[in-house]
Symmetry: C2
Subunit: 155 residues, 2 copies
Amino acid sequence: MTKLNRKIEYSLMALQYIQQRQPSSKVTAKEVSDSVQAPFDVIARVMQIMAQKALLISEQGASGGYRLNQDLKNVSLFQLFEMIEGPTALVKCISEDGVCDNETSCNVASPLKSLNTKLNTFFKNIPLSELLAGEDSAADSITTNGERAKDLNHV
Amino acid sequence: MTKLNRKIEYSLMALQYIQQRQPSSKVTAKEVSDSVQAPFDVIARVMQIMAQKALLISEQGASGGYRLNQDLKNVSLFQLFEMIEGPTALVKCISEDGVCDNETSCNVASPLKSLNTKLNTFFKNIPLSELLAGEDSAADSITTNGERAKDLNHV
DNA sequence: TTTAATTACGACTAATTTTAACGTATTTAT
DNA sequence: ATAAATACGTTAAAATTAGTCGTAATTAAA
């Protein structure tokens, strides 16, 4: 349960790196992969995805790179999950309709659906800015109350 | 992110079946596997684990079976996770100490550790009784506030 | 006391998912 | 032109998960 996808990790690392470097400085995938000691290909890939999804802006060409396109206050962890992994769910039968061939005999479908919703809410209430806040100890200030992290429109 | 382990699913199915059948009636693994149309071996296995962990009581022999040994109000979803999967974490470096060979270059260790804690709290606040309550719509009443699901001592 | 039903548990195989690597194309500053 | 970077599809390897098989131990009942 709840193991973090490696791609998500790399995304967070990249965002953290960009955020810490400068408000809006340009950063290359190589720079990030060197810094966090992760395979270049994978870092490059997730940054491309984040650019596709408008979280980053990419500039191609010789002195290209990426920069933030959104205030991380307005992007939730849930949104990052969806960007990188696409729509997911606790169990397949929730996301893919009609996949579960024994919905009649399944006695936990409704509980799991409800749990899935709650969990999504949990992640929706964590803005990336808060998750990544402060390299070391500041990150402990995460709370899950109230509403934050407004929806991104074009993701 | 957050895909539910199949074993956990089966555990929940078994618990749901037991709970719905009778407060404390005896139930066999076969009965459960037939009812929820899951492979007998796997159902049997998770029920054995739950018996080991004192969530169920098992009776061996010809007319043996399982029954609840705990009020599900006092057992959290988090505890079930730990029973079935053992200690887990969002990322390996949290659980296994010293596994992460580049802790120095990792810029998200602290945020993820914090997130991991929050998530554990989330699951600790969901008693199995609440998760499994009401076959159909009643399960929507899950909330995550306040403290519930006291610790089990011998797990 | 044999038989049948059941829990108990380890080991193995198969399937799926995840992760990483490769190859090639495109863009653009120099 | 060239070099450095993004873009992206395909494939291969690794790891994890899911399921099966085999066998032992326990116990009620015939």
